[in-house]
Amino acid sequence: MGSSKANLKRKASIIEANDAAATTTLAQSAQDSDFEEFGDGILNAVLDDEDSEDDSDFYVEGDDQDDDEDTGSEDDIASEDIPTDNEGENKLALANRTNHENDEDEDDRPNYRIEKDANGGVRYVYDEIDPVYDSDDTDAQGPTNTIGNIPLSFYDSYPHIGYDINGKKILRPATGEALDSLLDSIELPEGWTGLTDPETGKPLNLSRDELELLRRVQMKEVPEEGYDMYPDTVEWYTSHVEQFPLSAAPEPKRRFVPSKHEAKRVMKLVKAIREGRILPYKPPEEREKEQEEEEEVHYDLWADETPRPPNVMHIPAPKIAPPGYDLSYNPPPEYLPTNAEKKAWEETDPEEREKTYLPQKYDSLRRTPAYDQFVKERFERCLDLYLAPRVRKNRLNIDPTSLLPKLPRPEELRPFPTVASIEFAGHEGRVRSVAIDPSGQWLASSGDDGTVRVWGLSDGKQQWQAKLSSEDPVDVVRWRPGQDGLILSAAVGEDIYLMIPSIMNPELEQASRAILDAGFGYASNAKQQTTAAGARKDPPAKWARPGSRLEDEGVLLKATVRSPIKTINWHRRGDFFCTVSPTGQRSAVAIHTLSKHLTQIPFRKLPGGAPQTASFHPSRPLFFVATQRTIRCYDLQRQELVKTIQPGCRWISSFDIHPGGDHLIAGSYDRRLLWHDLEMSIRPYKTLRFHEQAIRSVKFHPGSYSLFADCSDDGTLQIFHSKVVNDLMEGPTITPVKMLSGHRVVNRLGVTDVAWHPHHPWIVSAGADGMCRLWA
């Protein structure tokens, strides 16, 4: 502690001395080693930036071994060819120190003093050890402030300004008295800077060396004294050719052999040039020209052309239409638009115009101007070429009339009924049914008034009449076919009446009566058969005399079935007839044998809904039954279903079979007339829809005329011509020929029934207006 105090004291004295030195002479203070060191340290710090690496080197060395330091530094010096400024400085510093050491060595005095302690013993008081930190550490300057990087102002209130490395306070130097400062200002000491050293708090003055350095820098001299900037060059390689080789080794072979590597590189270049990858330089214009020429190289592209069939999917672009007369610059005057046309053209939207141009006339070529739409049209064509979807359209370049079917001339189709010739008026209420007798003389009609009337067909006069019922309408009236008798059948409710009108000659009447009466002999037989069925069972029909009143009128026979009858159709031979009563369920269809007064019910069960009508085939033993939607064909001999015809309509009203037997027409309430080829398909061959209302009845002409007719609730009859050929390949041609209208529509009912004349192309229609008409 004491030593430290002493040291402090000494330091203070030093400072004082230093102050004194500052005031008196710099040389005095320079003698103080501490100060010298300090100054040295400053200089070192100043020059420190130049080469920090070197410094650190020194530092490390110095740290490790103090003793080696000298030799190491000397080594350094030896190794460096050209000493740097810094090193020079260091050398100086080192020299100083070594001097010190040398002094000590020379003195060889012990570093302790022997004192007497309080006990009177010997006490070695050692000198303060100078660790000589600063010897190699350029940073470590003597009494350096260790407060770190904090502002000095923190110590303003203390007498010291920090601590040195030994923890001793560095006292604030006495601030210059006013007089001192005045003196200072009068006589500036050498190296005065006017700055205060922040670490020591003393005024910062520069040493002589530093001043010298500054001067040199200012004078743009080399800062290092004695440094030769331009030393003489040492000619290691001279221009003199040595006469003799330096070595006696023989010349290597590679000197004489061409280099393979070079050859490779050259070949690469040669190849590149040959391939045109390396081109000699050419001015850009010239190159451009060349390029253009290259582009225009032409050769025979189609030298080895092979025709290729066009792709099926390829659609070539349509060519632009060639110009017409109206595009001429001098067209015929009729092609020029009139004022109205011109105006209309101008007023229409450009996109809606039929032509994109207006025909113009220029009286000479000289006056013809440029077409202002030219570029646009071309552009649009371009767009069309690549943007317009192409579709292959088959243009039918044919006469449209060739599409029309070859119809027979109307003359060829004649004769057919065209005008209403005779009207048969007399019925009260609607006429339900008409029939023409096989000889073609008589017309029978029946109606809502319950009467059956017979008219002379040629004169239109009523010849005979029978009132069958007072309340029920007579639904149907039919003549028995065959020339051997003249028998009329009619159905009223469940009753079938067979009549012999008293209009004919007596012989024929007798024959007819005989036909009707022939069956009475078989009646008992029929009864027996029915009793044999165990339980007592109703016969399908009761055959009896209708009663004397009717018998007088000519109604000779009556058969009663179970349900009301709607249709009667005779077999061609005149012995059988069938009746259909749609509500009759199981017994709806009945076949009656006139000669036996026998009634049979052929179908136990009839699928396909209620039967509508039935008919015999004109030549073969076939029986057709029309249910609501289908027509079923049965073989009567084999008793089996032959086929089911499906006309595809909703509700069949009536059907008729072609006299040839291979075709069938069906009319329906849903306004269709369907032609079926029985040989071909169960589906209709033709569907004719010419009526606006339900079709009531259809009929083929029974004779040699290939006509057929239908009648409808719209009050019209339609006459068709049908040409049926016996050729499987050719279907029948059906030609509509005539539409006959004349009947009034009453309660939405028009024509109820039609009947053809057996020999003539005449037709009789029954109307809901109570009239019958003969069309001829």
């Binding site: 025979d300 189609w302 672009a317 004022n339 077409y371 570029v375 064509r381 599409l403 029309l404």
Partner: protein, 672 residues
């Protein structure tokens, strides 16, 4: 049971591909796709069922055939497009960096494809691919020629570089030279749009349109990039076609092009055709160009000299066929005539070459074109039809046979200027002025035919010299008719007299009108007369005509109205008139005089005829209606459509006939 068919795996769904899908598949941008489509001739299709073809709910606009796109996928150009895109990216990147030198280096290198630069493409393969045979290419030449001729006449802009225009022009001129040499131009037509030409090359009819030599106005939005793409393709195509055509007639392609002459607007004359063989090249093509033929003494002697030369060096003669075709050459070309050796055989029809070749129509003429005539089309068409000596005013450019209007060898002079009255009178003493080089306007040189340009076209189309007096300067030109119209049966033909082609009903109506006109005639005369005399050439004819039409219409319509009224009356009480006539007849009988053939009588006769016609028409209509009833719905619709178009056409024809009738009547009246 077959395999269950999944939706969208076959048929329309697979066969068609939308444009967006196509672009995605090809991985190129839309403009590149467009370019590719244009060059490869890929076009959108209309699928049979749009709904099935499109997978999206929104209605797609364009569909492509999927196989077409598949085909494009293998296109080498596609790779080039991609490379180009990469390069552009590089350049734009360099520019973005501000590294202009780098960008320019890339750009410069672009000219050398081998140095990572712009891929240079050629369209040769595309053309070969699109047109497997030469004839296929010829078939598609219409649009090509129209386009290139248009571009040859366009002003150069930023979108249409001058180089492109120059190249188009050159190609077009080369093509024209081929037509001249091969004499394959057939027809031409002056329309309001431009001049149509039709050539027959190897049996293919090629029709193209050339605009008049005026500055083209570009109206509307025209995308020149698209046009440019087309032109790029067409230029390559026409180059190859030209090469093939030139070599086929033994000429060298490309012909020698004289830049100096071209600068002096020599056009066709700037080219010098050369034969494939160097020996013959020296003598022959000089005449073809006609540019320096002024120095030649006479074409005939020249031809003989040529012949001699050819005989001397008979080695390399075969290859060259120039336009002085020898008999020998012809014999190889032409179809041999088969004469029956023995009687009794069937006669087989053969196409006949008319004795006079169409290509040598003007062979013996020397033309001189006046200053105001369009030189280029006239020169081309005259040369194409065999004329070798065409002179024109030096104003019109280089390459004339003679620029001296007084050259005595000139046989025809084409003039397109109005006749000035004063000069006409001077015509007599025109001889005095002969010392001067230029003739005064309207001065005539005797022994020369003066005609308007239309004469050339009409003569060419009819393959005979038309009467020059109809085409004399200042004369009212006969209508210029399109040679491309093929007259179909029943269609209106302006060349035939009206009487031959009008149907009965119209004729009747016409005569009816005539009668009616008789009443109104005096009014219209009064208007008409002063007009008829003063028919000066300088008055705008169309205007004049309109006026005339208007004027006469006033008078005429009255007459028409009266006729109509008559008609109506007669229709209404036709029975009445009949009764009247009967009564007249009875009266006549009673009085013993012959029945007066009054006007009323003729009228009623006509009426009767008319009625008969109407009856007939009605019957026919009924018949058709009846037959139509037997057709299926589809067929009926088709039939009705056809009838609609036919009716439209016939209505147009009827209108034309009506107009002509009116005009003819006016003319007749003017004459009377």
């Amino acid at each position: 049971m077959g395999r269950i068919k999944k939706k969208g795996e076959a048929g329309n769904a697979k066969n068609y591909i939308t444009r967006t899908q196509a672009i995605k598949k090809l991985q190129i941008s839309l403009p590149d796709f467009r370019k590719l489509c244009i060059w490869k001739g890929i076009f959108p299709r209309e699928p049979r069922n749009r709904k099935k073809a499109s997978k999206s709910s929104t209605a797609s606009t364009t569909f492509y055939y999927a196989k077409d796109i598949q085909f494009l996928l293998h296109e080498p150009l596609l790779q080039k497009f991609r490379e180009q895109k990469a390069l552009e990216k590089k350049i734009s990147k360099a520019l973005g960096r501000g590294d202009i030198s780098d960008a320019s280096r890339l750009e410069r290198n672009a000219a050398r494809p081998e140095k990572t630069g712009k891929p240079r493409y050629t369209l040769d393969n595309v053309i070969r691919d699109r047109y497997p045979t030469f004839v296929d290419a010829l078939r598609d030449l219409d649009d090509c020629l129209s386009m290139l001729f248009l571009f040859a006449n366009l002003p150069s802009t930023s979108t249409v570089p001058a180089k492109m225009i120059a190249r188009c022009e050159r190609l077009c001129l080369e093509f024209q030279h081929y037509l001249i040499v091969s004499q394959s131009l057939r027809k031409s037509f002056l329309s309001i749009k431009g001049i149509y030409y039709q050539a027959n090359i190897q049996g293919e009819e090629i029709l193209w349109l050339v605009p008049y030599k005026f500055n083209q106005r570009v109206v509307g939005d025209v995308d020149f990039r698209i046009m440019g793409t087309f032109v790029e393709f067409y230029m390559t195509l026409l180059g190859f076609v030209n090469f093939r055509l030139y070599t086929s007639v033994g000429l060298k392609y490309p012909p020698k092009f004289d830049q100096n002459k071209d600068n002096e607007a020599a056009e066709l004359g700037a080219f010098k055709l050369e034969g494939n063989h160097a020996a013959t090249a020296s003598s022959e093509p000089a005449q073809v160009t006609g540019s320096d033929s002024a120095a030649q003494p006479d074409p005939k002697t020249q031809a003989e000299v040529n012949k001699l030369i050819r005989q001397m060096k008979d080695a390399a003669v075969e290859g060259d066929q120039t336009e002085n075709a020898e008999e020998k050459d012809e014999s190889t070309d032409a179809i041999d005539k088969f004469e029956p050796a023995a009687p009794g055989g069937d006669v087989l029809p053969q196409p006949t070459y008319s004795g006079s070749e169409p290509g040598s129509l003007f062979a013996n003429c020397t033309f001189y074109l006046s200053r105001e005539t369009p030189r280029q089309p006239l020169e081309f068409i005259l040369r194409a039809f065999g004329c070798k000596r065409i002179g024109w005013d030096s104003v019109l450019g280089e390459g004339a046979y003679t620029t001296n209007e007084r050259d005595p060898s000139i046989t025809h002079q084409i003039v397109d200027r109005p006749v000035i009255q004063a000069a006409m009178e001077e015509d007599g003493d025109g001889e005095d002025n002969q010392t001067s080089q230029k003739l005064a306007p309207n001065q005539r040189i005797p022994g020369r035919i003066y005609i308007q340009p239309q004469w050339v076209w009409d003569s060419v189309n009819d393959e005979e010299f038309k009467r020059p007096d109809e085409y004399a300067p200042g004369a009212q030109l006969p209508p210029h008719l399109s040679p491309f119209v093929q007259n179909t049966q029943g269609a209106y033909d302006p060349t035939l007299p009206l009487k031959d082609q009008e149907p009965e009903a119209e004729a009747l109506e016409d005569s009816d009108e005539e009668d009616a006109d008789e009443d109104g005639e005096e009014d219209s005369f009064a208007v008409k007369k002063p007009k008829a005399t003063a028919d000066g050439m300088d008055v705008d004819a169309s205007d004049d005509e309109d006026n005339e039409a208007d004027d006469t219409f006033g008078g005429f319509s009255e007459g028409e109205k009266s006729a109509e009224e008559d008609d109506e009356e007669e229709d209404e009480d036709a029975d009445e008139s009949e009764e009247l006539r009967n009564q007249q007849e009875l009266e006549a009988e009673l009085s013993g005089k012959p029945v007066k053939r009054t006007k009323v009588d003729t009228r009623s006769q006509k009426l009767e005829a008319k009625k008969k016609l109407a009856q007939k028409a009605k019957e026919e209509a009924e018949e058709i209606e009846r037959a139509k009833g037997m057709l299926s719905k589809k067929k009926r619709k088709l039939f009705e459509q056809m009838q609609y178009t036919n009716n439209k056409k016939s209505a147009e024809d009827q209108k034309l006939r009506a107009k002509r009738r009116k005009l003819e009547k006016q003319k007749a009246r003017a004459k009377a």
